[in-house]
Subunit: 530 residues, 2 copies
């Protein structure tokens, strides 16, 4: 090539060159595979066409399900009012910051002492890439997102009886598990023991695959050496100049690895909901609630405790207490979309048919306790090179979640110090907030010895004690779902329900949104017909 070219190369210059470089058929590769299932059925903004002629809808609950409905129904021409128990919108889409006060059932009040700019999401804290409806609302509402790290190869896996209580790096457990599994299988294949399962033609390819994936050597062994160290890390890592030669690390013994049970957490990043790339709103999950509030905050009546929902053939009348003035009020509309958690709704008078009533009563709510801990420095980053992600333990705290923002900041940081489920959640819940926090610090110190010296303050949210929720999310079983789910979602006269509990994506905001969109679509069809 001797002549200087004139560039930039623009598309008009390119089309002829492409023809030369590849067959034109390559350029028109079937578009049909685009738009394949990407995690939710969401196909873009809902379109409720047709004039509802002034029909009114009373929405109960200003969580994401209620706010989505308020936004879309008003846009479609409905008259909309929203009643919300709390003094804020968002429901479980909630962020706690310094200066916030929270009083739980039983009366314990916590005032948050986090430093400015730090926060803790006691509810949802991550958004999978395939939660397309939620991502679309974030975009439409101007909510800025940043990546959330789920799996961190340098975070810890900890078992109180595993390796003398010494936490192991996720990467070493992952590498050694892959190595063990691939070596065992390669040796089984090698000895013709798997011929009944794998054809001879595929055996060679399988061996090649196992060697690559499991970091096996040429004799199909996983052992101390460069191959294993490039996966699990080095005893002395490679450096520069003289004295730079690395020293290999030695894998764990397979029986020790198996009996440690630390492999249990290797699947944590394999589940569809936790696969890369996940996101979180910059500044806290309640930025989503704030986004909705900018659009439809004017429709919401805060501090409104619903006590009765009564329908007749003309509409729905809701009785509620204004928590400020402690006076009883009534609101009426043609229709009612109720997004109140079933744990609360089951205690509210509502005249629906037996099928919906039975469904409302059938779903227990998951217990869970989340504790945010502020530390005086981000020691997990500076001392231990853990940037985001999660360490797992079999202690009652279950996990330690590292902040996926503010990396490398010199100041303080807030960890998720406990995310307890099931019996462990009840164990925490039975304690005072201060005792819960102390317990989280004490257990966490087994993983991060810096805990006691660096602890600053904390906030503990036990979901069964959150007055507006009485639990974390609707815990369906296959049996209850088979019996009750359709009855829960079907329109009962002039009342219909929405929320994560009315979805196949329980506990997630996406479930709440899709449930809401499905409900208002069916409501709108009903209104258009009438």
């Amino acid at each position: 090539m001797t002549q200087a070219e004139t560039t930039p190369l623009r598309r008009r210059d390119l089309l002829s060159l492409i023809g030369a470089a590849a067959g034109s058929s390559a350029l028109y590769f079937a578009m049909s595979r685009l738009g394949h299932a990407q995690g939710s059925d969401y196909a873009g903004p809902i379109n409720l066409s047709g004039d509802p002629k002034g029909a009114s809808v009373l929405i109960l609950g200003a969580g994401v399900a209620g706010m989505v409905a308020a936004l879309e129904l008003r846009r479609a021409g409905y008259r909309v009012q929203v009643l919300e128990y709390n003094d804020r919108v968002g429901g479980r889409t909630w962020t706690i910051r310094g200066g916030d006060r929270f009083t739980e059932l039983g009366g314990a009040t916590q005032d948050c002492g986090f430093d400015r700019g730090l926060y803790f999401n006691p509810g949802p804290w991550r958004i999978p890439y395939h939660h397309r409806a939620l991502l679309d609302y974030c975009k439409r509402l101007g909510v800025t997102l940043e990546p959330f790290t789920q799996v961190n190869a340098n975070a810890y896996l900890h078992g109180k009886d595993a390796f003398g209580g010494q936490p192991q790096r996720y990467r070493t457990i992952q590498a050694d598990f892959n190595g063990m599994v691939s070596e065992l299988l390669a040796k089984a294949v090698n000895t013709d023991r798997l011929n009944a399962l794998v054809s001879k033609e595929d055996t060679e390819v399988l061996l090649e695959a196992l060697q690559d994936w499991g970091a096996l050597d040429d004799s199909y062994a996983y052992k101390a050496g460069e191959d294993a160290s490039e996966r699990r890390g080095w005893r002395k890592p490679p450096g520069g100049g003289l004295s730079a030669e690395p020293i290999d690390s030695t894998p764990l013994r397979p029986q020790d690895l198996l009996q440690s049970h630390l492999w249990r957490r290797l699947s944590s990043g394999l589940d569809y909901d936790y696969q890369t790339t996940l996101f979180q709103p910059v500044g806290g999950m309640d930025k989503i609630a704030e986004g909705f509030a900018r659009e439809v905050g004017d429709l919401v009546r805060l501090n409104a405790r619903v006590t009765a929902i009564r329908q007749d053939e003309h509409g729905v009348q809701v009785t509620w207490e204004d928590k400020g003035s402690q006076t009883m009020q009534q609101s009426r509309a043609d229709w009612c979309l109720c997004t109140i958690p079933l744990s609360v709704l089951s205690q509210i008078e509502m005249n629906v048919g037996a099928p919906m009533a039975a469904a409302v009563a059938a779903v227990p709510y998951s217990p869970s306790v989340k504790i945010g801990l502020q530390f005086k420095r981000r020691f997990w980053e500076t001392d231990e090179a853990i940037y985001g992600g999660i360490s797992y333990t079999d202690l009652p705290i279950t996990m330690i979640g590292y902040p996926a923002t503010g990396y490398f900041d010199s100041g303080k940081g807030v960890l998720l110090g406990t995310y307890a489920f099931g019996p462990y959640a009840y164990e925490f819940e039975s304690l005072s907030p201060a005792e819960r926090i102390a317990k989280a610090v004490a257990f966490g110190a087994q993983i991060h010895p810096q805990y006691p010296a660096e602890f600053d303050n904390g906030m503990a949210v036990a979901w069964h004690r959150v007055p507006s929720q009485l639990g974390c999310y609707g815990q369906w079983t296959d049996a209850t779902r088979a019996e009750h789910y359709r009855n829960l979602c079907a329109i009962d006269g002039r009342i219909l329900l929405a929320g994560e509990h009315a979805s196949y994506i329980p506990a997630w905001q996406e479930g709440a949104i899709l449930s809401s969109l499905d409900a208002i679509t069916r409501l709108h069809e009903r209104v258009m017909k009438s």
Copy 2:
């Protein structure tokens, strides 16, 4: 609990509670494991104590190795000058933006037509969490970092002969590979075929582990169903309200999976260098170069082409051409730290001993071609839900790298459209830049059919044609390293070398920095002794 508590809970309140919640021994868990090998030997900022009494050092090359040395040597009291071939600092730490012009060997000139705010890193593009020295310099230099996504479960794996050329999502290949491997091994274990390898005591645990990790059902089969779908994705994903029930997807047949060879890329995220969490500078990799320039830019003479390096017993004299005035110049110092790539240095006159000369001549440089493509919209996000990460293919482009920044932006975006190695790199290199770009678009269209319609413009960097580099990085073999590495790094009279080529972390900025720190430490010891 009946009394409201006074909070926030402060550390002083906590210490007694911790004692109650856990044995005090738990609080003082051995600190010894902290500071364990975290990827590089870097132990924090270098300390060159002692007065060098005005000793001078001439540094050749203003890449990260040279800039680190300039910064640290000046701080230690040395008189420092840096000569740099290019009209910018940073070397391979380089970012191309709209308005930039690049002329390669052979004379082809490209003017970059990227839109404002968009860029392409033709050199390093990611920073592993364990590159502690580089991360520390980023912090010290005020370079802001953001997460870089390597593995994206929703990106594609593509083989031109696999599945009729239809790209597969990474998550389906990963889930099906894990399922296949675990099912084969579980069945081998079940039939007592592996008793020679695994004790009966461990077999039960192994089966439990395989079931969990491989998403096997109770008969240890990996097959269409909820378990597999929660890993590989659904045919119809779960939704909300009525019609929300998901439909399972069906795994690939093991023989099809094996013969597709798409499993080859599953190890891409398992390697230590590519494990989570990785980072990139906000705004482009050259923010690191800019950071160094703020500190020591005043020491750098740009546009200086070194033609000869001659030492005697008193010092080193370097002859160089001022590319602006096309005049020859000379600079002299007590010592010379040369960071010029060996591919270029081997063509420069330098009077060192036979061992170093042989080492300089012994290391070939890796070919590689990187192509940045600007598209009119971020269709990989909007159409295909791919946010960051990499799709891999066996086509010559090797991969498509998605930007790990600007997620959800409505405007244009720049992809890494080619990262070709080896023979494929030579194939691209032999073409004009426009032809390379056309080829990248034509091949990429086999993975993203939107390419031809959405292509806007591109920039192609063939590293063997970059005048200051003549290749991508020093490609050591075990044999050349055994013979030459120590001779390359040892001080020869008054000359010593640094750069990624003088490290065990070739091609990475961390190798260049650690090499430089090691070199100037040894130089300083020498100076202090004399």
